[in-house]
Amino acid sequence: MATPGRVLIVDSSDDSRAVLREALSRNGTEIFEASRSDTGLALARSCRPDVIVVDVDENSQPHPQVSRDFDQATHDGSASVLLLATARRNVEPLAAGEVVAKPYHYAPLIRKIEELLARAA
């Protein structure tokens, strides 16, 4: 099922970005990439993505704050923010579906992104 749309990937890992880019662009999804959260936030403001995928492990901010930052960066909070994070103790839980625990499998992650894209369409 084709799920065109716009996805912003914020991840310091070249490999992870490359895999998501290749897999998502097969169906015509437009991909934007950033290796750092500051450039990611700037892209979120300028390119209006439907879904933002953020690897938060390298981000010093607590998870909910990262989510809020990206929500605000999309002006109206219209983009769905999907956080990739290592499960830790004592972390304030987020709403269901917003966090994918690391290490993750790519097939379910891609399916999750495509679901969010379909919801946004």
Binding site: S16, V19, E22, R26, D57, H105
Partner: protein
């Protein structure tokens, strides 16, 4: 900075730096200092800074807050204090004492000329001579009191020396017992230490003047032991004093008399154990001495108390040292496991991603091939995706190889295996290996081989790794700058007998404060990309060769790493056994090392 260091409990090895003016301690994660101890209350105690001190206040905790073994409500902490909350024991380190900070201005060490003018060495004395301080009493000063006092001083002096020369508690207790037997006319003796967990006394060492008889167990009254520990007082006991058994007509003459001394081992804060000695007087001796059987006197008791205190301090020091070493070791192991797990997890994530792309490509290819008319465009795209996936898998395979190689290099004490090698060829190989990675990141790699460069003796595999790690770092440092450039050059200084490899980049540079830690294991400035192994490994290899790495850096301008290798010509070095047996290796060979190794 003041800190609390956990020396016992589940958080053993953790150091909490007291950075804030108010810091809460408790089991709950909302506390500044969280202790994973079920006997600690959710909000147990609070630390409040008061000038150059911290006040510790109990927050009506269920199990109380203890300072040096006694319960407190609010108390000011002093350096070396022990704080106990639940089962967790913490050691407080106070503010650094600056009183002596500027003493260098007040004490002068002057040159030889001035020294000669003012003073000269009149007499020198070795440690051994110094220990003869309490030696033979000079003639004419044979007062019994003076002789005894000198003897006691000598005992204490030797005790202090003995306990300061070992960090093994069993050995320490053995020495103490031996010395006691040397000075006191005891027949049997034992030292019992208090178990930190149960608080029960357990025998650690026993001595007998004569070979012990079968079933010759030392029986000590629990009442006496409890009294000694609880009252922190030494006792002198005799089974002859409480009755009229001294009457020769009584049957006691057939049994003899046993005298004993039991003293507490009082440490800085608590009793850590007891020392017990006893002696027996046979009926024959009693008759011979007409009932005078006081082998142990009050002086013996005093001396034993002093010895036991000295021994207790040494036991405490040794225990703390062991706990500290163990805690540091646990912390290091924990950090190593955490760091390596993180990197291995990232590598596995990469392998998983590459495999996923290959799977997608194979699915697309199969689907396109099964069409009545094969879709060649889709098949080409699928092949491209498989290629992309394979590249990612291969890159991560190289990463894990590099990680393992660095771990092996760092973990083992090894001697380099020098063979006559061409340094320029080696660097050229590394540059070639790194060219692809530099290209991917848009970094220009320039290499200028210094001539002449003689054939030198070094371990080519080790040097390859050392140079590779430094060049990898330089390329990565240029990742965030436009027109990134890494210039690599070599040179040979015959007058210094040193060969140099210079790796200079125009990357992000290193802050002065970070320069001190770039060779520290597991410290990386590259976030998740760095293992913190690369530069420490390079430095280790250079040191093994008798060389070093020098670094200059300016933030925003770039860094310059110089690897200095002592130039050993082949004829000056005795070739190792292995090198004599095997043909000379060429440095031009391809090695299974990684261009993607990241510091």
């Amino acid at each position: 900075m003041p800190s609390l260091f956990v020396i016992r409990g589940r958080d053993q090895g953790t150091r909490f730096e007291l950075e804030d003016d108010v810091m809460s301690i408790g089991r709950d994660s909302s506390n500044s200092i969280q202790l994973h101890d079920t006997e600690v209350s959710r909000s147990h105690a609070v630390l409040r800074r008061s000038g150059r001190a911290f006040l510790l206040a109990d927050q009506q905790s269920s199990n109380g807050t203890y300072l040096n073994g006694r319960p407190i409500k609010t108390e000011e902490l002093a350096g070396g204090d022990q704080v106990q909350l639940g089962q967790t024991l913490l050691l407080y380190t106070g503010f650094a004492d600056n009183a002596n900070a500027d003493l260098s201005d007040k004490v002068n060490i002057v040159g030889q000329i001035q020294e000669d003018r003012s003073s000269r060495i009149v007499r020198s004395m070795s440690q051994e001579e110094g220990s003869a301080l309490f030696g033979e009493t000079p003639a004419g000063t044979q007062s019994p009191w003076l002789v005894r006092a000198r003897s006691n001083l000598q005992i204490m002096y030797r005790t202090a020396l003995a306990v300061s020369h070992t960090l093994d508690i069993d050995q320490l207790l053995g020495r103490i017992m031996d010395m006691i037997f040397e000075w006191v006319e005891a027949d049997r003796g034992c030292i019992m230490l208090k178990d930190v967990e149960t608080g029960l006394l357990a025998p650690k060492v026993r001595r007998d003047r004569r070979a012990p008889q079968i079933e010759d167990r030392i029986t000590i009254s629990k009442t006496i032991l409890d009294y000694v520990v609880e009252h922190n007082e030494g006792v002198l006991t005799s089974n002859a004093r409480d009755d009229d058994r001294w009457n020769p007509a009584q049957s006691i003459l057939q049994m003899g008399v046993r005298e004993a001394i039991c003293v507490p081992m009082q440490g800085r804060y608590d009793v850590v154990g007891v020392i017990y000695i006893d002696t027996s007087t046979s009926p024959q001796q009693m008759v011979k001495q007409q009932g005078m059987v006081d082998k142990f006197t009050e002086d013996h008791l005093k001396l034993m108390i002093a010895i036991a205190h000295q021994a207790a301090l040494a036991v405490e020091d040794t225990s703390y040292y062991k706990a500290m070493v163990q805690a540091e070791r646990l912390a290091a192991v924990g950090q190593t496991i955490a760091t390596l797990s993180h990197h291995i997890k990232n590598i596995l994530q990469g392998v998983r991603g590459g495999s996923y792309l290959m799977e997608l490509g194979l699915e697309d290819h199969t689907r396109a091939a099964r069409q009545p008319e094969p879709d060649t465009n889709t098949m080409v795209d699928a092949a491209r995706m498989i290629r992309k996936g394979w590249d990612i898998v291969e890159k991560n395979q190289e990463k894990i190889t590099a990680l393992v190689m660095d771990m092996l290099t760092f973990s083992k004490e090894r001697e380099p295996e020098p063979v006559a090698s061409d340094l320029n060829q080696l660097v050229s190989d590394v540059v070639e290996l790194m060219a692809g990675r530099a290209r991917d990141l848009g970094v220009q790699l320039k290499w200028k081989a210094g001539e002449p460069m003689p054939t030198l003796m070094f371990d080519p595999d080790g040097m390859h790794r050392a140079v590779l790690n430094v060049i990898t770092n330089a390329i990565d440092a240029c990742d965030c700058v436009e027109d990134g450039q890494v210039n690599i050059s070599s040179s040979y200084a015959p007058e210094e007998q040193i060969a140099r490899i210079v790796v200079a980049d125009n990357g992000s540079g290193i802050e002065a404060a970070d320069l001190e830690t770039i060779f520290t294991l597991f410290v990386s400035r590259k976030g998740g990309r760095g293992t913190g192994l690369g530069l420490p490994v390079s430095q280790k290899i250079m040191k093994e060769h008798g060389g070093r790495i020098c670094v200059e850096s300016r933030p925003g301008e770039g860094s310059r790493f110089v690897l200095e290798l002592p130039a050993v010509p082949p004829d000056a070095a005795e070739p190792p056994e292995e090198a004599r047996r095997t043909p000379r290796r060429s440095t031009g060979e391809t090695r299974a090392t990684s261009p993607s190794q990241q510091q």
